[in-house]
Amino acid sequence: MLIVERAQAPMRGGNTRHTRNIRCVHRRADEFTTGSYPFAELWRDLCGVGAGPGDRRLAELTVRESETVPAWMSAHGVRWQPPLAGTLHLGRTNRFFLGGGKALVNTYHRTAERMGIAVCYGTTVEDLVMAGDRCTGLLTADGVIRARAVVAASGGFEANIAWLRRYWGDAADNYLIRGPRDNDGRVLAALYAHGAARAGEERGFHAVAVDARSPRFDGGIATRLDSIPFGIVVNSAGRRFYDEGEEIWPKRYAIWGRNIAEQPGQIAYSIWDAKVARLFLPPLYPPAQAGSIGALAASLGLDERAVAETVTGFNAAIRPGGTFDPTRLDDCATAGIGPPKSHWAQPIDTPPYYGIAMRPGITFTYLGVAVTPQARVLHTDGRALRNVFAAGEIMSGNILSTGYLAGFGLTIGTVWGRIAGAAAARHARNG
């Protein structure tokens, strides 16, 4: 067995290096989760995301198999920790691994090394060498690696800006990509070229609001902004455009990536005041700061009058008498303003004022290959490729087509990694 890894060792593991928890069915609370999370509830949560599961049979299989995943992970060396600060709402449904995704990847690699599994680092798979419906090897810059069975676990194409442009046009130039630059969908494109069937939406991606100053690639978790529900968000014209108080964490992350992607120039500005400045995770880079709304707007490059008008109108629309409570959907709301702010609405009136420009940060894309319940890649003619399997984001479009459920990406990756790995091993042994 051989792992062909595009990255060098420190950057190995694709998007998994940015994960931190996994969402699995469990029957009772334990040291690391606060309560039970039965099959029916995870299934309901999954159906509530976007348009619901793409392929119900595969989605159900994923949820069912998730129950055995934590024990399998522990058996392969993974260690756990209580939910991280500020993630209490995930404490029942999601299980956090100690140290986050890179520690997880390191653990798996140590376990693989002990099992005698070799890794080819810095090796790009350019193409699959096919003989009819069989793959005989992988084409790399160093020649063909022969294989009796192949598992494609190479992720989506979110770092391939040219590919994103096909669906999003020039807007794609303003997207920041939260994972490694290597996630360019090369293997996915090769599979399509060999006739693999598609699963998932072309425009399906998971995106969050990130600091516009973040690196173009691989900014990960640290670049996301937590300030949105504590103030207002305006677009480049200085106008509000969406209810900032609609949802509590983490759903709002997913909503705001797409919201900003749909604004002119794919940019928006989060604005808050001194009252709330210490209530959320500190931003990665220092925010713009000014003694007046006009000066803040100017330092963000926005029209001073437009922003001042927006803030005045917003402040005037706040219904009196609410009790601000950031830990729940409180009763602080606006009235007679569009769009409304339905929770956590407080006047922005206490200097200094703060602001940060935000961009959509794409976490991953959903468009992938269709698979069978054994993780075999399906051909457009309806038959399965004999020895090509897929796991992780490259096939997540079978299960989720839009929207996101925190920690479920890794559930898909782990469940399908096991299914694909076992099926590929059986195939390689039995021919």
Partner: protein, 362 residues
């Protein structure tokens, strides 16, 4: 001062990324302590630096570690902050002139020179008080050097070092807990002692990732070997004093006596532990910010010369070996506040401050 500002700015930059990420929260006390602070002042960074036991678990878990452009490496930057703190809190800022050696040597071999000087001085004292022949005696230490002379020789540098370190400790506590901070409570002290004795924060909630990426108990165990070896040697000294002054039994003591058994076990443990830690340090990946073997060599020499006095106590070499051991003690104890030994002081206080802060945030 500019260099210090750059150091703290860099630490602030990296820790701000940590505070936006928080994946390492489960490893040790550094990250929860960081999360309790929304603004990071220099004193905060120094406190975090001394809470860090350099287990490197966070470095290996960090997706922002080099070659990532964020270049986050908390153990590295915190170890540089720690070292800067050691220099800042020591007063007087430099060891006494006689330990610094001739200026033209620029500190190289200064301690060896000082030890030779101390040994020569001791020989002169011995010759003047008991006659030069006392050097060849093997009837116990006081045949070589008188009890009062020995006591003064050892206690002077010890008292000096303790005074310097107490003053540094007071300043550190003041900075870590604020000007109105009272003395630490007994509960916080006791808990900190237990944490320090078990090296709780070097485990990173599992084991230390040192010297390489794989979790390994090697460093924690070797550190415990040195620490408890040192404690056993101290016990040997105390028990010898007890036998001599309370029970009235003069040295030398038999092989199966408390001082000899604890001294032997402690000395061997220190030698083995120091050697092991030095080997680990040589192989550590990434290399420490400033590799410094001084303390390990010093402790190793203390134990080694101590063992020699035991092994050779029935020979005519005993007197000279005792002089060598005493000279090593004088120099090592006098220079203590300027070595990595002070990590024990600051790390302990950092844990006390952390325990206090956790009970009463802010």
């Amino acid at each position: 001062m500019r260099a210090m500002d750059e150091l703290f700015n860099e630490a602030q930059r990296q820790l701000n990324i940590c505070n936006s990420c928080r994946y390492c929260e489960g490893y040790c006390a550094v990250f929860p302590a960081l999360e309790r602070r929304t603004v990071l002042e220099a004193d905060d960074i120094t406190q975090l630096a001394n809470l860090c036991h350099d287990c490197r678990a966070c470095f290996h878990a960090c997706m922002y570690a080099p070659p990532h452009e964020f270049a986050v490496d908390p153990p590295e930057i915190l170890s540089r902050v720690r070292l800067a703190g050691y220099r800042e809190y020591a007063h007087p800022p430099h060891p006494p002139a006689w330990l610094r050696g001739p200026a033209r040597l620029r500190g190289r071999g200064a301690l060896a020179t000082a030890a030779t000087g101390v040994a020569a001085a001791l020989i002169v004292i011995i010759a003047l008080t008991g006659g030069i022949g006392a050097l060849w005696s093997h009837q116990g230490p006081y045949q070589v050097i008188s009890y009062p002379a020995l006591l003064v020789t050892v206690l002077l540098p010890t008292a000096w070092s303790v005074a310097v370190m107490l003053r540094a400790a007071a300043r550190y506590w003041h900075d870590a807990r604020g000007p109105r901070a009272g003395l630490p409570g007994w509960a916080a002290l006791g808990k900190a002692l237990a944490y320090a004795a078990s090296l709780r924060y070097q485990r990173g909630r599992g084991e230390c990732s040192y010297p390489g990426e794989d979790p390994s108990p090697a460093r924690r165990r070797l550190h415990a070997t040195v620490f408890y070896g040192f404690a056993a040697c101290s016990a040997a000294t105390v028990s010898a004093a007890f036998m001599q002054d309370i029970m009235g039994i003069p040295p030398p003591y038999p092989l199966l006596s408390v001082p000899v058994i604890t001294g032997t076990a402690g000395g061997l443990a220190m030698i083995a532990g120091c050697a092991g830690l030095a080997v680990l340090k040589r192989h550590s990946d990434p290399a420490p910010a400033a590799a410094d073997y001084g303390l390990l060599i010093g402790l190793g020499l203390l134990a080694f010369t101590g063992m020699l006095t035991l092994l050779l106590r029935a020979t005519t070499a005993y007197g000279l070996v005792l002089v060598a051991h005493l000279a090593t003690i004088v120099v090592c104890f006098a220079v203590l506040p300027y070595t990595r030994f002070v990590h024990a002081v600051y790390r302990f206080l950092a844990i006390v401050a952390d325990n206090t802060e956790r009970r009463r945030p802010g």
